[in-house]
Symmetry: C2
């Protein structure tokens, strides 16, 4: 009777049972680059010749990056892959596939396991980025470490540390929406449904420009990620605060929650928009409107790279830090 009354947990199914479950759920994945998926010692993908392989890893850890109370398991699974796809977007790469190293306590409910995997697979299918393998392990808390592989034309990957003085600075979409959604969910005790949208198409369009500048995805917050762009360059940036794009109704929504809109927009992070630069050479002299058309996304010019070190024009600049 006992097994009928309680939820099934990971330890009821066992490691190989769980792997078989993932294999079953992942069986219907189709992608031209997929040669051999889950179930062997390793997976086999076949990118085209003349392409560079791009790889990125990002983890979500229980009580650090998510709480079961505020995020559904499917959202955690989706998010785990989405934030990695955003890194591929920031490199101008197209997705090839992903792996997941999953850790969880044996007492975790099986339906959470299933929902998380289903969420991850739904995103994998949406972006033609099949789950091709992974690893399961016991641990004290639940976590997923997702690694994605992408491909980009040889030598054409967008980079962070290539800013030059005089370049214009741009941002896709708007900033602050992710932090606002999180603050709302926390206040109301509801679940966070908002998910980042990896700007893959925009990233590839940028990489296809004749002379692209630097590019990074905004995960730590606009201020922190702008500093990452400048790192080691000895250069600085002048930002026009009022040009940093915010979602519609943002200021009013922040006011109703007693939040500082500037702070949320500049340090909140997790928006996963692209922050990039463009020179003033022929071919890069694109207006906001022309860029928005190429990237199929609103693009805002927010400032300029300058020789004087440091960032000016921002009231604050700290993002999200671990440890």
């Amino acid at each position: 009777m006992r097994t009928l009354l309680r939820m099934r947990t990971l330890s009821d199914v066992g490691e190989f049972g769980l792997i078989a479950r993932i294999e079953r759920l992942a069986r219907n994945q189709h992608a031209p680059q997929l040669v051999l998926g889950i179930g062997d010692d390793a997976a086999v993908l076949r990118p085209r010749a003349g392409e560079d392989l791009v790889v990125s890893t990002d983890s979500l850890v229980e009580d650090v990056h998510f709480r079961w109370r505020t995020q559904s398991p499917a959202t955690v699974g989706r998010r785990g892959l989405l934030v990695n796809l955003s890194d591929l977007a920031a490199m101008g790469a197209r997705p090839l596939g992903c792996t997941v190293a999953w850790a969880a306590p044996p007492q975790l409910e099986l339906r959470r396991f299933d929902s998380l995997i289903r969420g991850l697979l739904a995103t994998a299918s949406e972006f033609a980025c099949p789950l091709v393998g992974g690893n399961l392990s016991k641990a004290r808390e639940t976590s997923i470490a997702v690694t994605v592989f992408g491909a980009v034309k040889a030598g054409r990957a967008l980079r962070r540390h290539v800013v030059r003085a005089g370049e214009r600075i741009f941002v896709t979409g708007s900033l602050g929406g992710a932090s606002l959604a999180l603050a709302r969910a926390e206040r109301r005790g509801g679940r966070l449904r908002r998910l980042p949208i990896p700007r893959l198409r925009a990233g590839r369009a940028l990489a296809a420009l004749p002379r692209p500048g630097a590019c990074i995805d905004i995960s730590d917050g606009f201020g922190a990620d702008l500093e990452h762009l400048l790192e080691g360059s000895g250069l600085g940036a002048e930002i026009e605060l009022q040009k940093v794009p915010r979602p519609r109704g943002f200021t009013a929504a922040c006011a109703s929650l007693g939040l500082d809109p500037d702070r949320l927009c500049l340090t909140g992070g997790e928006d996963y928009e692209l922050l990039f630069t463009l020179g003033s050479d022929a071919g890069c002299r694109l207006s906001e409107v022309a860029l928005s058309r190429r990237l199929r996304l609103p693009v805002s010019e927010v400032g300029r790279i300058c020789r004087r070190p440091g960032v000016r024009g921002l009231p604050l600049k700290r993002g999200w830090r671990h440890y």
Copy 2:
């Protein structure tokens, strides 16, 4: 005074300080396939044209796969990459690079962090498999999830699930040594120094044979991994127990510790030798001696794939399981 007296921990340095540390330690990595390493949104590798990309992920979690009491941080770092390289070996692939998703409590001593990364980088350098990126996160226990990427001639990756009736079954090296070393370390309270040797050269030699059979690396134990090879085939195997290779002095060493040598050798796991099959076609009709020469490693013929399902000839067959 307090900071002078106590060990520095991760929280003293902060996330970006830790990343800078890894970047500094990893700066001297050289490999022809490395285009862009640590420090951007993703890494860039360039395998040759006409090659398939092979990827694998494996985690080591504190108190599940290792204890600080019995393994040094450097050993944990080395091991984290070595077990992944063994998966590339089992596919017949050459290493291209790796990433690591690292999680640890803020109170972890910084010297452990450094030693672990140094250990991982030493192995990366030894096998020309540069660390090209990763992720750091807080967590309740320390863990590393390593993902490796390898390359193999298009369509030539060795697979698990391609056994055919009549094929001969082989094992490289010897089995049981890893379990014996662990048992010894546990009895004597010493640290485990023995590390697996990924059979990369042997795997590539196998993949170069005109008609290779199935291949798997022995991580769960001979019995369990043999079952993995047979999975879904409807076939079975006849094993000659006395032919399963053991290290020199193994029986006596087991006796002195009161351990059952058969059990250790067949279920111990963690030996990371290759278990593979070969047909009896021309080109595969190689003797143990000829194979050992090709693989530059002792090779033992231990049995045969047969039509009757199930494994015969083994006194027991359970390996290592999570959950």
